[in-house]
Symmetry: C2
């Protein structure tokens, strides 16, 4: 029997009526002859409200207890969905993350899934019951304490459960129709992508595409779980995230399909740039700086080191990082200033990152040139550049982000009504 894991986010279960609506959708899947396991987030603003309550009690809530508190939100929505399904005449059972066997590391607030021992879930599925699992949570392997997973956690729970119970695929229900070639709020000609590879999706997620979180896609790739991202407000097919070799290269009549070089244009306004001016150009100085940053748990993204100024034997180093971590990083750098002896720190949060992603660029020369030409024509200055095998990212002024995204989207033939750039052969 086909087995499917369906994940519904907080906006899909904002109130009693939307819980009943989700119940009907789950029932329809069950009635189509599939085993259904649901992963559910907390209702609407519940998590924020619980966090407010915690902050009223304690300025810095103890992480172990914050996890105990916040996990109640998903438990509530799981129980409510099970009630709604029971009213529709179908057997449904809710489980906490711990009951569902979600075993995690012990890092409260940002635990990782180590393993899933889904005995109770599979037994219930085998007995014909719909299973509902509270997302975002697990139980620490060592302490047996309740943990919460990091960002995008309910999606990861769903994919991990899909792997553990041998589901045929995992559906992530969200408030958009799937993955688009660019943010439709910026590019009106953006279109939905029917299929995308794990690798491209990971690059898109890392580049600011919000629909799926990086960790979830990593997990899906590792366990080879096909993920269907779709809207909880319509029945339209969404975007399938799957292995590159499983992606169709011919249409239903067997004719080769047009394969675009790039799958999408992503952007990210959530980063800031720090420039360390006048770093002594000696072996080990950069390492010392980034050791200090890393020790504070700050994730940095792009790094650029300028050529040394010959006159002074000093160099400038710029890097980007999440805006939210800017204050922390500046503080840390100021602390090590006497030791490293750089001249100045500059902070700029009026930047944006624009990235093009596609496996097609591996086999097509000239992609970088075409991208930069399009940006130049749109009068966008490039501040920093970084690349991977299937991604090119640039940092630009915040005000230029929209212009850059549109220019790239057009240049690579992604505009829905425009002329598609056609390449046969490898990838998409």
């Amino acid at each position: 029997m086909t087995r499917v894991v369906q994940k519904f986010g907080g906006s899909s279960v904002a109130d009693a009526d939307s819980i009943k609506r989700v119940a009907k959708r789950v029932l329809a899947t069950k009635q189509s002859g599939k085993d259904v396991c649901v992963v559910i987030s907390a209702m609407g603003d519940t998590t924020d409200e619980l966090m407010d309550l915690a902050l009223q009690v304690s300025p810095i809530p103890k992480p172990r207890e914050l996890d105990m508190l916040l996990t109640t939100g998903e438990r509530q929505s799981a129980a409510l969905l099970a009630m709604a399904l029971a009213d529709l005449g179908v057997e449904a059972r809710s489980y906490t993350g711990s009951q569902a066997g979600v075993i995690t590391t012990g890092k409260h607030g940002d635990a990782r899934i180590i393993d899933i021992t889904p005995g109770r879930v599979t037994t219930a599925l085998d007995e014909g019951s719909i299973v509902i699992v509270a997302g975002f949570q697990g139980v620490a392997q060592d302490t047996k304490d309740i943990t919460t997973l990091g960002r995008g956690a309910s999606d990861t729970t769903a994919v991990a459960l899909a792997a553990a119970v041998g589901a045929d695929y995992c559906e992530i229900y969200t408030d958009v129709d799937g993955i688009f070639t660019a943010d439709p709020r910026i590019v009106s000609a953006a279109s939905q992508v029917p299929e995308i590879s794990y690798e491209e999706m990971m690059e898109m997620a890392a580049s600011g595409a919000k629909v799926l979180h990086l960790r979830c896609v990593e997990y899906a790739r590792r366990e080879n779980v096909q993920v269907h991202v779709r809207s909880s407000f319509s029945d339209r097919p969404g975007t399938w995230v799957k292995d590159l070799k499983d992606i169709a290269t011919t249409d239903k009549d067997g004719n080769p399909m047009e394969q675009a070089i790039i799958s999408g244009v992503a952007h990210d306004r959530g980063e800031a740039k720090i420039t360390i001016v006048g770093v002594p150009d000696k072996v080990g100085e950069a390492a010392r700086i980034f050791d200090a940053i890393a020790a504070s748990g700050i994730n940095i993204d792009m790094i650029v080191q300028n050529q040394s100024r010959v006159s002074t034997s000093r160099t400038d180093i710029s890097f980007t990082l999440p805006k939210t971590e800017g204050r922390n990083a500046m503080q840390k750098l100021n602390e090590i200033q006497p030791e490293v002896g750089f001249e100045e720190l500059l902070f700029d949060d009026q930047i944006g990152k624009v990235s093009i992603v596609g496996v097609g660029m591996k086999s097509h020369p000239g992609v970088t040139a075409r991208f930069f030409r399009a940006l130049a024509d749109a009068e966008v200055n490039l501040d920093m550049i970084s690349t991977s095998e299937i991604r090119i990212s640039v940092v630009v002024d915040a005000e230029a982000v929209d212009r850059a995204v549109r220019a790239a989207h057009t240049a690579f033939g992604l505009d829905a009504e425009g002329e598609a750039v056609v390449y046969a052969g490898t990838g998409r």
Copy 2:
């Protein structure tokens, strides 16, 4: 080291400020050199709000899922109290009922504690941590599903945990100062009882005294846990509930203390009376009626069968039951009417029950006479009468309840400023 279990109810943890207040009280106990295990209820109206939410989703919420939903309330307050304690610089860990090893029967919504396996709790206490356990809940022995206990459940959790962790005593914090000789809202001269035996407390609870629930006192007696009922809003000593033999009979100078015949006057306005008129006076008819009632899970309290009317060979049977179950019982009786052939059903919810309770009455004749004389002098008509070894209860008109309580309180010398009736010897 002295070990104590402290239980705080919903009114003690209504908001963030009151949680911080409770934290200070718990800390003070810890700082006095005791091991502290706290059992906590859900904040203020949380349980009612969750129930409302459930009813919005489902007219008759599935009991298993209702338990999953409602138990989140206590988990939240437990986590919040642990945070507040951490802020005060003391190690505190919250546990769900399941984590604390509260093993119950599988009857959702009204499970009974079968056993407590307090491994994690005792380990944490031994490590010097304050332990906070979510009350009202456990885990079913067979299914491992989350259960809620019946009424008065957090108190029972506290007493059961006190027994399981070998606590020296159990403190129940509530919104009154302890057990009174009568409801102070009715009898201004009522006074607080410093000590009362398990047996008397059980009779008081069964007779309408709301402070402690019957099941909790039963558990305390069985496990011989001394219970200290006291106010969470003051530091005054409350009432100790303990074994009769442990109750002081001499004052601190060794002189015999005055022992009252009765410990208190209880009343209950929560009952209704059903009279079944004209039941055929044949063997087995009463059994058939009460079998039907019992099969519906309705608890009846007092039963009176009037003398048969010789002319008709029929008899009248009256019984009392919780008002909330009146509709259900009437329906059930109507269903069996054709079978039993009684003449008529009468329903009266304008009644009240007044009880006097005291172990002293075992050894003192004339208690009944004195009680009834006092009621007669107060122009209270008796409708039904029932007795146990240490209790006499009467059913009276609802409007006469206050008068009856006051008359009994005065007649047995309980009025604080009045002349105490002094008896040396057995009991209190």
